[in-house]
């Protein structure tokens, strides 16, 4: 049997907080750069937030011709189109901007109808100021056939909108917003029509204009709420300085993670937001472990200077801080390497989160305690009492 290897056991004691000024400058810089980058360069928002269409297609003959696809799909008049290889060379992710429901879309609907229902079909916009659309069929159709026909353009008709008897034209009244939502479907069908011969549609996703903004707002609230809830918890368990230190550390981690999203132009989707929230929750783990030891040492060494006490606490907990980060790091590394393209941006962000979380627990959270004026005697009476009980217990053991 083998002997355990003390991976992160260091003989030397490091003067971590001696570097606190350098760290302060470094952290501030990273955060400022991140914030500036968000405004100057911008996040690469996924369709969850931006609205729009994502189509995953796989080439039937093996390789996806990105340039050719870009030309074909770009010529449809569906607006901005972005393509990227997705996972392997045969699979491509086609992203189309969100559709506005304008005349372009109605013209697109006509192309779809002509391709799918027959060459004689016409689609025209209705009265201006409304979202109405008028369909004209080459032959008179009855209600049931009408419903069938327009469903080919991804439009669903209500019973009361159906023409009675058999007619050549049908006007479908929609509000402008409803038409904009419908136009997402039209764009998907158009793309399907032009690439369908050579590509297999593996999955489609469309997000209408309404959702994105809402998700963004509630996402930002979720991040803020998480950070404050965790800080509140730390406040209950420790002195207020610890809570503020933790909050600053979390902010630091969250902001710099967002910076990473900008730097690598990673897809900022809902999963990415999940990563940001998880980082806020997890990066605090190391911090709490150090804080726990700081409090313990504060009870024990009332006369020691705060910087020395913090340095000692960090050194004492260093091996576990690094070990806990390392276990999560290897698990996340497996996700980065094998988790597939969908999880890519999530995993990369998490990987960064683990590293920055370890850094911030030492140089942001603990350094923060120094700047916040925590002193060896600022323990609450209740926390100090726990110390006495602890000592008695230790004496008995």
């Amino acid at each position: 049997m083998w002997k355990p290897v003390h991976v992160f056991a260091f003989k030397r004691k490091f003067d971590f907080l001696g570097q606190r000024r350098t760290a302060l400058i470094l952290s501030t810089l990273i955060n400022i750069i991140s914030i500036v980058a968000v405004f100057a360069v911008g996040l690469n928002f996924g369709i969850d937030f931006k609205g729009g269409i994502a189509i995953q297609a796989k080439a039937k003959d093996g390789t996806a011709e990105l340039d050719q696809l870009r030309t074909t799909v770009g010529a449809l008049g569906v607006g901005e189109v972005a393509l990227q290889e997705f996972g392997d060379p045969s699979t491509v992710l086609i992203r189309v901007q969100r559709q506005e429901g304008d005349a372009q879309c109605v013209a697109g609907a006509q192309r779809v109808m002509q391709k799918r229902a027959g060459p004689g079909w016409l689609v025209k916009p209705g009265a201006s100021g409304t979202g109405d659309v008028e369909f004209t069929s080459p032959t008179p159709l009855d209600a049931a056939n009408w419903r069938d026909a327009v469903s080919r353009a991804g439009l669903t008709l209500q019973e009361r909108q159906l023409p009675r008897g058999s007619t050549n034209t049908a006007r479908i009244d929609m509000s402008i917003e409803q038409r904009a939502e419908w136009c997402q479907q039209v764009a998907i069908k158009q793309v399907e029509d032009v690439i369908g011969a050579n590509y297999e549609m593996r999955g489609t996703e469309s997000v209408g204009p309404k959702i994105g903004d809402e998700l963004m707002r509630s996402g930002i609230w979720a991040v803020i709420a998480t950070m404050f809830a965790i800080a509140a918890y730390v406040w209950i368990r420790f002195e207020w300085q610890f809570a503020v230190g933790a909050l600053i550390a979390m902010l630091h981690d969250v902001i710099s993670t967002i910076g990473i999203f900008v730097l690598f132009q990673l897809d900022f989707s809902l999963t990415a937001l999940a990563a940001v929230l998880t980082i806020a929750g997890y990066s605090i783990n190391d911090t709490v472990v150090v804080f726990d030891r700081v409090r313990e040492n504060m009870r024990r060494y009332k006369k020691m200077s705060m910087v020395d006490l913090l340095n000692q606490s960090i050194n004492e907990t260093l091996s576990r801080t690094l070990m806990t980060s390392a276990t999560v790091f290897v698990a996340v590394a497996a996700l980065v390497l094998f988790g597939g393209p969908v999880l890519q941006s999530f995993s990369v962000a998490m990987l960064w989160g683990v590293i920055v979380g370890t850094y911030s627990s030492v140089w942001v959270a603990c350094a923060g305690l120094v700047y916040l004026g925590l002193r060896s005697d600022s323990l609450r009476p209740a926390d100090d009492k726990a110390d006495k009980a602890d000592e008695t217990e230790k004496a008995g053991a």
Binding site: W2, R147, S151, G203, A229, M323, T324, A331, F338, V342
Partner: protein, 556 residues
């Protein structure tokens, strides 16, 4: 600390065993499962749509139109009532989606008018001054009505989408005015979308024979209890003779009420009593069949539920010889004369239908009317092979991640302590599986990521314990004492660390939807169960080990 009473050991082992038992159906191969009892073999974790393939829709209900429609109906009633009470008024208008505004000719009639209106709908809040009365739904009432509409829509969608009972759709409310519809395993959504977006409103009314007896198609005035509704034949006739008028009716915005259509365009209409004898909501079932005699025309047969049956029976008994009008979506399909009391709880609708029409109508009647128009605001379809790829990637990542963490723990803490931590990690995985099977939660691709993360985080608790044990050992404690104090002293940091991450997990669950919820579920569940597996379970293992080996020195 390490002297566990026997009962505690048994309880811990019992919980562990139970989790294994609940998790097993997810792990056993199909060949083994088929020999096990069905209830056990099928209690497995659901796969989310992103792994299983299928369609996902986020639908938004057009609640504004619904409220407008209700207010419009109300305005008609208010007008009639004010006339009846002889309160002169200038106008009754609908303020979009919110309120009704009545302008009186004489301010003196204000109280009388308010009393008359409140008799209709006591939930309206009255405001306004002088000769204008503003009647608005209160915030509370609006919320209640919205909730009602959404709940009803969900129920009806469920019946429509899953007519055959094989699709297993998940339909849930999202926020105030949205519905999330998930249908696993389908790729072509055209059919589904068509079913989503149809209304079908059926009501039975007695014909007001006194008015009908006057022989006028469109009488100048009708009593407030009565309204005019065009017949289907009348509308078909209008379309033939006056296509322009017909076109105008179709495109009118806001939509014309049946009475307005009758008054403006004068198709063949029938005066019917407003009171609904039985509504579509009281239908139990309806089928497309053919008439027995008279050349076998396509007809729709239906059965009422007990309440509907009773109401129908009473109404037909009291009105023999009168006509009963069947109104579908604002047109009278037919108005047969009641020959005798119909108390069997069933009946038929005849009319000029084609077979296809009877089939569609009967499906819509079966499922009931959708109270609001639903718009698809988010949609995604995942092909089955895309799901299969995701499962494969997820599984490989999970296996590699688990293996890497296990190797790491073995190297860092040796075969005994590393082994205990790794055993705990496996138990934790099994407990998450068991928990998800019991909760009926769905496993999504982000959920697998959450699982991998908890693998890394679960051993963190062991790291904290072992590092503390090393420290205590370095202080010169005995093997037994270092273990005991190590466990004890590490606990507060373990609880704090897990709870902070758990806070993030729970908030994420509240915020997210679909796949993200899957992530929040596995992460939160994994953290909770790891508090058992990494501390309580490993402590039991250690207690047993200590009693067995009686170590004098710890190799940690």
């Amino acid at each position: 600390m390490l002297n566990l009473p026997r009962w505690q050991t048994l309880v811990i082992a019992g919980i562990t065993l139970l989790s294994v038992l609940f998790a097993l159906p997810n792990l056993l191969p199909a060949s083994v499962l088929q020999h096990l009892p069905q209830w056990y073999a099928t209690s497995r974790i659901n796969l989310g749509l992103d792994l299983r393939g299928g369609a996902h829709f986020l639908l938004e209900a057009d609640l504004r139109s619904v409220l407008n429609e209700r207010l419009t109906n109300l305005s008609d009633s208010v007008r009639a009532e004010l006339r009846k009470q002889q309160v002169p008024f200038k106008d009754v208008t609908v303020e979009s989606g919110r309120a009704l505004v009545v302008s009186l000719r004489d301010e003196a009639n204000r109280t009388k008018a308010i009393d008359a209106i409140r008799a209709f709908d006591p939930t309206l809040a009255v405001s306004g001054t002088g000769d204008t009365i503003r009647l608005a739904y209160s915030e509370q009432e609006l919320t209640r009505r919205k909730k009602e509409v959404i709940d009803q829509s969900i129920e009806i969608l469920r019946r429509r989408v899953d007519e055959t009972g094989t699709l297993e759709p998940t339909i849930t409310r999202q926020g105030d005015e949205r519905i999330l519809l998930q249908v696993p395993g389908i790729k072509d959504t055209t059919d589904l979308k068509r079913k989503i977006n149809q209304t079908a409103k059926l009501t039975f009314h007695l014909v007001n024979e006194d008015i009908a007896a006057t022989g006028q198609n469109i009488p100048q005035t009708v009593p407030p209890t009565t309204f005019l509704v065009p017949t289907r034949e009348g509308m078909l006739e209008l379309r033939r003779t006056n296509p322009k008028a017909w076109e105008d009716i179709q495109t009118a915005n806001p939509r014309l009420s049946p009475e307005q259509i009758c008054r403006r365009y004068q198709p063949q209409c029938l005066p019917v009593l407003k009171r609904v004898v039985v509504g579509g909501e009281d239908l139990d079932d309806s089928k497309a069949t053919f008439e027995q005699q008279q050349g076998g025309r396509p007809i729709i047969s239906f059965t009422f539920n007990s309440a509907g049956g009773r109401a129908f029976c009473a109404a037909t008994r009291a009105n023999i010889g009168k006509r009963l009008a069947i109104q579908l979506d604002g047109e009278i399909i037919s108005a047969p004369v009641v020959q005798s009391a119909i108390c069997g709880g069933s009946g038929i609708i005849t009319g000029s239908f084609t077979t296809q029409q009877t089939q569609e109508q009967s499906l819509l009647l079966r499922s009931g009317a959708l109270p609001a128009t639903l718009t698809i605001i988010q949609e995604s379809t995942v092909g089955a092979d895309l799901g299969a790829d995701a499962i494969q990637a997820g599984t490989v990542a999970a296996l590699v991640g688990t293996a890497l963490v296990a190797i790491f723990m073995f190297v860092a803490y040796g075969p005994v302590f590393g082994g205990f931590a790794n055993l705990a990690m496996l138990v934790n995985l099994l407990m998450v599986f068991a928990g998800m099977s019991i909760l009926g939660a769905s496993l999504t691709l982000p959920g697998i990521a959450g699982l991998v993360l908890t693998v890394g985080m679960a051993v963190d608790s062991n790291v904290l314990i072992y590092e503390r044990v090393r420290e205590e050992k370095a202080l010169g404690r005995s093997a037994f004492s270092s273990l005991a104090t190590g466990y004890e002293r590490a606990m507060s940091a373990i609880i704090d660390a897990n709870l902070t991450t758990l806070i993030a997990g729970v908030l994420l669950f509240g915020f997210g939807s679909g796949p993200i919820r899957g992530f929040a579920t596995t992460l939160s569940l994994g953290l909770l169960t790891s508090m058992f597996s990494s501390t309580i379970f490993t402590r039991m293992l250690l207690a047993v080990w200590v009693r067995w080996r009686r170590p004098t020195e710890l190799v940690i």
